[in-house]
């Protein structure tokens, strides 16, 4: 089977299709939505807490800003920051796991104990302390969310590395005197990537949820930024008067996590079946 067909097999399942379609829809909304925003998302455009009407399709929020415009702008932060955080987590976690798994010395013990310490701290508590200590910039937010993922990624990478590093082709590379970096990059990394990335989608979902929670709690992005989670937090007092200012961003966050999760599940399933099929063929 060609590589492309293998990569796209996950689209074949029903839930996979729904997931991919949903993810693409959200991506389109986030990328192109701002061009269609009728108002400046930060500008006060009318009377606060209006229900949907002719002038404001989704009504106005507690400060009188257009909810539709804020929705169209507000996905960018959560999608981009969670993607960034997840990618960063994979880069750092994979590097740590590779070095720890391959070294089998004090380096391994030191790195993994450090990971254990991180793992022992509850994520939200960690982010709370981080926000208090290092400020509430986007950089801190991304770094913080990434740090939450790093230990578990490092652990998976480490055990996959240990398994692969005793294979003949790795030993052959060692025996011909390849530098450690070359062994890790050429021989080990390509062979553990499947295992490591299998739960990438689930981690992305987790990043979205953590980011939403942090923003909702006011520990992340600050007003007047347009952000879905922040919108829920800002408008929840007026929920009886103008439910759409809370419901619309909440529904979109739910839609985003469900779509990403369905895609991730389908991808993981197709990875699973492809390895299984190979085994049966042997």
């Amino acid at each position: 089977m060609s590589t492309i067909a293998l990569k796209l097999r996950f689209v074949r399942s029903g839930s996979g299709r729904v997931g991919v379609a949903g993810s693409l829809l959200i991506l389109a909304l986030v990328l192109f939505g701002p061009f269609f925003a009728p108002h400046d998302p930060a500008a006060i455009a009318g009377i606060p807490l209006q229900r949907p009407n002719g002038a404001f399709v989704l009504g106005t929020d507690a400060l009188g800003r257009d909810v539709l415009s804020r929705i169209l702008w507000g996905g960018r932060s959560i999608v981009s920051l969670s993607l960034l955080a997840t990618v960063l987590a994979y880069l750092v976690g994979t590097a740590i796991g590779l070095v720890a798994g391959y070294s089998r010395s004090m380096v391994d013990a030191l790195l993994m104990r450090a990971m254990d310490v991180l793992l022992a701290v509850p994520p939200l508590l960690f982010l709370l302390v981080l926000a208090t200590g290092a400020g509430r910039s986007k950089v801190v937010l991304v770094a913080g969310v990434a740090t939450v993922h790093v230990p578990s990624i490092a652990r998976i990478v480490r055990s996959a590395t240990q398994e692969v590093s005793v294979r003949g082709y790795v030993e052959a590379a060692v025996a011909r005197g390849e530098r450690t970096a070359a062994v890790l990059r050429r021989e080990i990394l390509p062979n553990i990537l499947g295992t490591v990335l299998a739960d990438g989608g689930v981690r992305l979902t987790a990043s979205i949820i953590i980011l939403a929670a942090v923003n909702f709690l006011g520990l992340g992005l600050q007003p007047p930024a347009a952000d879905w989670a922040l919108m829920i937090s800002e408008n929840r007092d007026g929920i009886t008067l103008q439910p759409w200012a809370v419901a619309a961003p909440a529904l979109l966050i739910a839609f985003l996590t469900i779509a990403v999760n369905l895609t991730a599940d389908a991808v993981a399933r197709s990875l699973g079946t492809s390895t299984e099929r190979k085994r049966v063929a042997r």
């Binding site: 003949g168 082709y169 060692v174 025996a175 011909r176 390849e178 390509p190």
Partner: protein, 590 residues
């Protein structure tokens, strides 16, 4: 005896896609007889064996023919009906005892479970005791309360056999039951099967790819190729005068410790399911094919009184001849030692302390010479190989190349030293990086160790593939698309790419079928003759030693217990341990 324990008529098994896995297989077996079902991987022998129990792997089904055991039909029944036959009438001993036994159930309970399920009227305790006695295991409560991981491989396999026999079936299907065992345990187990079938009147179907093993136990042999039986008859005549060219090829592939011989493999690769040609499936590999072979499949027809052969040209099959090999013939005279190992000591440091792997091991390999290290698992032979290749630091002693001491680890060795010693590993499944194409795998050492340019390395790849007798088109394939034998030949080509003086071969054929092993060993033999390569050959198989090596060191638990030229040592071993190994080695000689 007129009654039949097992009868198979015109069995046909297909994939759900409709491609035949097994076609037109028929045989019958009287009580107390042993049928050896022989063939390479992919010949359909295990599928046939499982069908005897009314079982097929998912995606495979029996579509035609009948199977009956002790007069009861196995085919054409519902799963629940077949299930009552299993264990009581027919039972199965799978290949790998370590995975056949449930690791979390005590061995006594595993055997007892068979009684409870299939013969609830009998007393569990007495039946289990009897079964353990049959396979010569202790019957004590302590033994029964052990878990499978607390037993040796041989004991595990005996437990699996005891569980298969506890309900006194008429037929036992043994699927390569000795493949994972060392030779001494293997020969003991084979000897123990003998009284079982005599006393219990047990009919045994013994599945194996190794004719030498089958020769020691079978009364009749059915040779399978590409899902069909190609030759069938009494064991002695099939082994002495094969009539099918495939059977003959299998026989010339079998090494024999008692008479060193040149192995002659069957050219080409076994065809897989779904790629079988229209005519005779063996035709593409057959030296005596004619036009009709390519269009029409030969039926299995009687030849002589007792034999059946599926070949149009069977009368042209040459008689079996053995090309005797003279060990040492390839070494030049008075060559200085290339590699010297002096008083090597190697250890494995684990959590529970240090385990001695090799102690006081000294030997030398001359240029162009093949030295074999022989021993059972745990004898330290692989660790010694890894020390030579610079993958395991010795605890003590020296390794010298051309008189100059080598650093313990490869990373510290000079480029020339790394280039001149290459290693090929045991497991063909992990000796090549699955993400690198064959060309990439072979080109890398040529570029890193010989400094060749990309273009020069590409040319080298083509030459090397030819050297190991692989078609050039394989260069663009990934290892997953190759067979085990092809992968191992690519691994040899990768070692050759460094233009080495010595190749360390660590059990390179132990995971391969006998016929594929012969092809790999033939390649090595030719390489030695062409390039004057020296080999350090690690193996547990004395037959292989007789076919490739000039000198041999026998290792027992890390110590060298005997050393000498291959011919005299195998003929008249001095050390008691070597004598046991030689006596246990399977042979085709009656």
């Amino acid at each position: 005896m007129s009654e039949t324990a097992l009868s198979v008529q015109d069995l046909r098994i297909e994939l759900t896609s409709g491609e035949a896995v097994v076609e037109g297989v028929s045989f019958s077996l009287a009580p107390g007889r042993v049928l050896g079902l022989v063939g390479e991987s992919g010949s359909g022998k295990t599928t046939t064996a499982l069908a005897l129990l009314g079982y097929t792997h998912p995606g495979v089904r029996v579509v035609g023919g009948t199977i009956s055991v002790a007069g009861q039909a196995v085919t054409g029944r519902r799963e629940s009906a077949v299930r009552t036959l299993r264990g009581r009438l027919v039972s199965y001993v799978p290949q790998d005892p370590a995975s056949a036994l449930n690791p979390s159930v005590r061995v006594g309970d595993q055997i007892g479970h068979m009684v409870r399920t299939h013969a609830p009227e009998r007393d569990v305790d007495t039946e289990v005791t009897r079964a353990l006695e049959l396979v010569q295991l202790p019957t004590s409560t302590t033994f029964r309360r052990r878990f499978p991981h607390q037993l040796s491989g041989g004991q595990q396999q005996r437990v699996a056999i005891a569980a298969a026999l506890v309900c006194r079936p008429s037929v036992a299907v043994l699927d390569e039951p000795t493949t994972g065992l060392d030779v001494v345990t293997q020969s003991r187990l084979l000897a123990e099967l003998e009284p079982l079938r005599r006393e219990l009147k047990l009919a045994i179907v013994y599945v194996s790819h190794d004719l030498a093993v089958v020769a020691s136990i079978a009364d009749e042999i059915a040779v399978m190729y590409a899902g069909r039986v190609v030759e069938q008859g009494p064991a002695a005549t099939v082994l002495r005068e094969p009539r099918h060219p495939y059977t003959r090829g299998l026989l010339t592939s079998v090494p024999d410790p008692h008479e060193p011989r040149h192995l002659r493999s069957i050219p080409g690769v076994a065809v897989g399911v779904g790629e079988r040609p229209a005519g005779c499936a063996f035709a593409p590999r057959c030296p005596q094919r004619t036009a009709i072979c390519e269009t029409e499949a030969p039926p299995l027809e009687p030849v002589g009184d007792t034999r059946h052969v599926a070949c149009f040209e069977w009368s042209r099959t040459p008689s079996l001849s053995v090309e005797a090999r003279v060990p040492g013939a390839l070494i030049g005279r008075e060559t200085a030692p290339l590699l010297e190992v002096e008083r090597l000591r190697a250890e494995h440091k684990g959590r529970d302390g240090t385990v001695l792997a090799a102690c006081d091991v000294s030997f030398a390999v001359a240029g162009g010479e093949c030295v074999a290290l022989v021993g059972e698992s745990g004898s330290g032979k692989t660790t010694i190989a890894r020390c030579v290749a610079g993958l395991h630091p010795p605890a003590d002693g020296r390794i010298l190349l051309d008189g100059a001491p080598l650093a313990p680890l490869a990373g510290r060795r000079a480029l020339a030293a790394r280039r001149r010693i290459q290693i090929v590993f045991q497991n063909p499944n992990d000796s090549l990086n699955p993400r690198h194409r064959v060309a990439e795998a072979i080109a890398r050492p040529a570029r890193v160790l010989r400094g060749l340019s990309r273009r020069q390395a590409d040319d080298e790849v083509r030459t090397l593939l030819e050297r190991v007798r692989l078609p050039g088109r394989l260069a663009q394939r990934f290892p997953g698309e190759l067979s085990g034998g092809e992968r191992q030949r690519v691994a040899i080509a990768r070692a050759l790419a460094a233009a080495p003086d010595l190749i360390v071969c660590d059990e390179i054929t132990s995971a391969l079928d006998v016929s594929v092993q012969a092809a790999v060993l033939e390649v090595l033999e030719a390489l030695r003759a062409q390039l004057g390569l020296a080999l350090l050959f690690i193996t547990h198989d004395l037959g292989v030693v007789a076919s490739v090596a000039d000198r041999v060191l026998v290792l027992d638990r890390g110590f060298v217990c005997e050393e000498g030229a291959v011919g005299p040592l195998l003929e008249a071993p001095d050390h008691e341990y070597t004598q046991r190994l030689v006596a246990a080695a399977p042979t085709l000689r009656a």
